[in-house]
Symmetry: C2
DNA sequence: CGTTTTCCTGTTGACAATCTACAGGAGGAG
DNA sequence: CTCCTCCTGTAGATTGTCAACAGGAAAACG
């Protein structure tokens, strides 16, 4: 039956990345992808073609910063971490998410 | 004092329109926009440039059908209504929304 | 009447985010 | 030395939304 694969909602990726970094601390791109897939029980697949440009965007906006390091497996990896601006943005986006998802929930539940 | 205006999440409009038609029965575009703004307490603004193309798309996909009629105010208006396929699609999208929003909620609430 | 406001339907062009698919280097395992 | 996993990216096409424009027709107002 229907494949359990789902695309993500546009505008949601930034939120997910920011929150993941907030929770995990400095993490490399691949790890972020793994984490999101894991938390979503593999319902959300991360495309590299989506993730890396998103990371670039976030860095250019000053919400995250990055530096090269070494992963748990001794591989070269670029570690991203949240800037103060990123943390603030995260709060904004969380609140925004709550508002919008609340509205939609209200619409589709037909209401109380 | 961020303006309380919010863009909608891409992919969400179809769901909103379908559900509105399901709730209200045959409705014209303007009415759909009004309804969504009202239910969202004006947090979501409907752009005509977004709504009408969306209605076209939905009709071309066979999810809604339309016919000209007369509004409450005696104006000519195109009334849209749900097809059986649209109703089925609505259920699918509602379920999909629940899954995805559930995942995101879990992520941002820190979990447990 | 004549003018303005409200209702109602569209179109166009630009833009941003995602998707699919491709490309490659470097370490570890066999 | 070959293959697999880890890890970082890029290119092109597609799509949905946005902002702005355009217009017709009924009602309200003077």
């Amino acid at each position: 039956m229907a494949a359990p694969k789902a695309d993500l909602l546009q505008g949601t990726l930034d939120l997910l990345v920011l929150k993941t970094l907030h929770t995990l601390g400095p993490t490399h791109g691949w790890g972020i992808a793994r984490r999101i897939e894991q938390v979503s029980e593999d319902l959300l697949q991360m495309n590299q073609g989506t993730l890396y440009p998103a990371l670039l965007r976030l860095e250019q906006r000053g919400l995250i910063r990055s530096e090269w390091g070494v992963s748990d497996n001794r591989r070269k990896a670029r570690f991203y971490s949240l800037t103060p601006e990123g943390a603030a943005q995260l709060e904004t986006e969380v609140e925004n998410w709550r508002r919008i998802s609340g509205i939609i929930a209200r619409v589709i539940e037909g209401s109380s």
